[in-house]
């Protein structure tokens, strides 16, 4: 074998703390290495050209590049291999940047470590064999999870692009958080007026199939061929018949249901339609408060329903959809406000969350857009906004900035003034984060034109005093404590991952961070991809985001799906397991351990049972290979021989010098 080794400087990223020429010189002495060289930027066009030239000139049949993480550039160099006329699996990468030069400043030890890493790559490469991909048909349907603004945008773009699109939404109505907002910053557009038409488009689009009140039960399969089981929860109302007239709700005697759409501001009836703009505009029964379910008698709604849509015996239903790709757009939820005892969150009725305040401002909200204190219905004379409630707060385990609170707080201060011009508005803030087109100007307007008093400092306590609220905090610019009287306190509660985000991630086999936000494949270059091929992200499920960013990401995810579906067939990864039928004893332990059902039982030449891998299903994890006692299954490209060659390469260098 003739191997070429290329040691990348990556400018000073590697060369700053690794002696790259010395690594190349050491590589030159390794077995089968016919050519070794250091190069300023291996991934650059001249760098890649250099590799191709060397392949031709020295007749190389395998290449090692020692540079950054293979998670970064393995795909790049594999394409280079193909351009050089070699099989792309005759290539190995040594990660001497993320794992060496960036984590230690000791040049001598780093160089030694880099040489070892090149050595193991060479030893592995000596056992590599050319692999070829097979192709398989792609199911060009896409499923979008979540119908907030990001999911709606993604679904509409996919559907407009001609793709058969399935949308699954957990709640009764589309629109997510945006549908609850009164206005949007920095234009003060009416939120639902902007979003409403899109929601209508989605329900009427010929390419879109909508499952509302539904959740993902199970996800099977792989890119191009997923099978998704959807659970539609019982609404106890036949939505094929319900015309959304609302008579049922008007006659319902049980009026104590949690009003989820209005964020718990006020109550709703046991049978209800979330809002006048709800889409789909269908009623559902909350069995926890419905008298028919709790007491066994009532059936008022059944009597008044003009179309006889009520069905108390309805059960959850399961559906299976076959799709080729998934877009996850499950959004965020506010943190639980009752953990902020110092602000009286969840304890004092006139301390509300920012989302509750949106509902209080909204003309379609429980107060009809009249600003009133929840405790006694009086008009507030002073409203205090507290920002960073649970954001940038290490003591709560939430060190991150929720990103949009500064902006919506400014918006809410402005809206407060337009509702009640005489009302005082105060904002306690740590810093103002307003990077965005027209954003900082907007905050300035809140301060100057709408005369909101911005106080730089934290609030230490909110407590009731003489029928109002007393807000004590510090003005750090003054260096003094301040105590303000307020009728309403609005908490800009930080954003956390959506409820159930982790469970869904586990079903989708995608990663999430410490807070439950989904991990993108690369923070800069693959922001909508995940580590699971065919699963894409859109919106705040990846991290807190405002509306324009969520919409952009929805479109981006749709674009990715369309690019994926632009081919009729997809290439499978040839790094799969294969069974050596001579060694296989037919115990079929592998069949029982495979998480994907990629192993089937076949009949051997003499009628005995044997295992066989279904290549198109195998994901290449290698669990079977370790399970196999007679070692009849090998995972291609990660065979026992290849991995042991790496181990041996390391151990040999350690043992040999001392055994002399």
């Amino acid at each position: 074998m003739r191997i070429g080794v290329f040691v990348c400087h990556c400018g000073s990223n590697i060369a700053g703390t690794v002696d790259c020429p010395a690594v190349a010189a050491a590589a030159q002495r390794l077995p089968d290495v016919a050519f070794a060289q250091d190069t300023p930027y291996a991934c650059s066009e001249p760098g890649q050209r250099g590799i191709i030239q060397a392949v031709e000139e020295f007749g190389l049949d395998g290449v090692v590049v020692a540079s950054c993480s293979p998670r970064m550039h393995e795909a790049t160099f594999r394409r280079t291999m193909e351009r050089a006329g070699l099989n792309r699996y005759m290539f190995e990468m040594s990660n001497i940047r993320e794992h060496v030069s960036w984590v230690s400043k000791n040049k001598e030890l780093n160089t030694k470590k880099a040489i070892d890493l090149v050595r193991i790559a060479v030893e592995k490469l000596r056992y590599n064999r050319p692999l070829t991909s097979k192709s398989f048909a792609v199911n060009k349907r896409v499923l979008v999870i979540g119908a907030g603004v990001a999911g709606i945008q993604a679904a509409l773009d996919c559907a407009d692009g001609g793709l058969d699109t399935v949308v699954v939404e957990r709640s009764q109505s589309l629109g997510g958080k945006m549908a609850k907002l009164d206005k949007t910053f920095p234009t003060i557009d009416c939120s639902v007026c902007v979003l409403g038409p899109k929601m209508v488009d989605l329900t009427q689009h010929k390419n879109i199939k909508l499952y509302a009140m539904s959740e993902i039960e199970e996800v099977r399969g792989y890119v191009g061929n997923f099978e998704v089981v959807i659970r539609r929860k019982a609404a106890y109302v036949d939505w094929n018949i319900c015309n959304g007239c609302g008579l049922c709700s008007a006659k319902c005697p049980s009026r104590k249901s949690h009003d989820a759409f209005n964020e718990g501001v006020g109550h709703t009836t046991a049978i209800s339609i979330p809002s006048p703009q709800a889409i789909p505009k269908k009623a559902r029964i909350d069995p926890s408060t419905c008298l028919q379910f709790t007491k066994g008698r009532c059936r008022h709604c059944e009597k008044v329903c003009p179309v006889k849509a009520i069905n108390f015996d309805m059960q959850d239903e399961l559906f299976t959809e076959k799709v080729g790709a998934l877009i996850v757009a499950t959004g965020f939820d506010l943190l639980n406000v009752s953990q902020f005892g110092e602000y009286g969150g969840g304890r004092y009725p006139d301390v509300v969350t920012s989302l509750q305040y949106e509902r209080m401002l909204s003309a379609s909200g429980p107060t009809g857009g009249h600003l009133k204190c929840p405790s006694d219905g009086r008009e507030p004379k002073s409203v205090v906004f507290i920002s960073c409630v649970g954001s940038r707060d290490r003591s709560r385990g939430r060190p991150y900035c929720s990103g949009f609170c500064c902006m919506y707080t400014a918006k809410q201060a402005i809206l407060t003034k337009s509702h009640l011009p005489q009302c005082e508005t105060h904002v306690f803030y740590m810093d103002i984060r307003s990077p965005g087109k027209g954003y900082d100007e907007f905050v300035r307007r809140a301060q100057e034109e709408f005369r909101t008093n911005y106080v730089r400092g934290r609030v230490s306590a909110v407590r009731p005093k003489n029928g109002r609220l007393s807000v004590r905090g510090v003005d750090t610019l003054l260096g003094e404590q301040v105590e303000l009287e307020a009728d309403l306190v609005v908490l800009a509660v930080g954003a956390g991952a959506s409820d159930g985000a982790k469970e869904l991630a586990e079903k989708l086999r995608i990663s999430y961070d410490a807070y439950g936000f989904y991990m993108e494949s690369h923070p800069k270059l693959k922001p909508v991809e995940t580590n699971t091929a065919g699963v894409f992200l859109a919106g705040a499920c990846q991290g807190p985001k405002d509306i324009p960013s969520s919409v952009s990401m929805g479109s981006a995810a749709a674009g990715k799906v369309m690019a994926l579906f632009s081919k009729e067939r997809m290439e499978s990864d040839p790094q799969v397991a294969i069974v050596n039928p001579i060694r296989c004893v037919g115990c079929l332990k592998c069949l029982r351990t495979c998480p994907f059902g990629a192993i089937q039982e076949i009949v051997g030449r003499n009628g005995e049972p044997r295992a066989q891998v279904i290549e198109s299903i195998c994901q290449g994890c290698g669990i079977c290979s370790v399970t196999c006692t007679p070692r009849a299954i090998e995972l291609l490209h990660f065979t026992d021989n290849q991995l042991l060659a790496e181990v041996n390469a390391l151990c040999r260098t350690w043992i040999e010098p001392s055994s002399e």
Binding site: R394, R458, S460
Partner: protein, 149 residues
């Protein structure tokens, strides 16, 4: 307590960050912190503000910087009483504190009330543990003596 502070807690934290030792130790705020710990419980950066103030107070005392001499005198008289009796002898230490601080006429109204309620004992509680407490203080002052040498 911040109403009585000469420098607010966040300013003291900043002085510590910048290493402006003399200014931090000279602040009388250190001596007016009642140690309720609200600041530490609230700090979004998880600074133990009250703990830092406590340490600054010890540093100031060692450096002999006492902008609120009465607070220090109070602590000193209290500990002397503990050292002498094992437990604190309330009447004895208050008298000593008054002599030390010169605030002879403050709190004169409390004594008669306590006496009436039978709560102020006129002689210290004897306690066999006193010798051990004395030994702790003795070893502590020896420690200081070593440091000084």
């Amino acid at each position: 307590m911040q109403d009585f502070y000469d420098a607010p807690a966040h300013r003291l934290m900043r002085l510590v960050q910048l290493g402006r030792r003399a200014e931090a130790l000279a602040s009388s705020s250190l001596w007016l912190c009642a140690g309720c710990g609200q600041c530490s419980a609230r700090c979004p950066n998880e600074l133990d503000v009250a703990g830092v103030l406590e340490t600054l107070r010890q540093m100031a005392r060692r450096a002999g910087i006492l902008p609120q001499p009465n607070v220090e005198a109070f602590a000193r008289c209290f500990l002397n009483s503990v050292r002498a009796h094992g437990r604190v002898f309330e009447l004895g230490f208050l008298l000593r504190y008054k002599l030390a601080s010169g605030r002879l006429f403050e709190d004169l109204d409390l004594g008669p009330k306590l006496l009436k309620l039978g709560k102020l004992s006129l002689k210290p509680h004897s306690c066999r543990g006193q010798a051990e407490v004395e030994a702790i203080f003795q070893r502590f002052s020896n420690e200081g003596a070593h440091e000084r040498n």
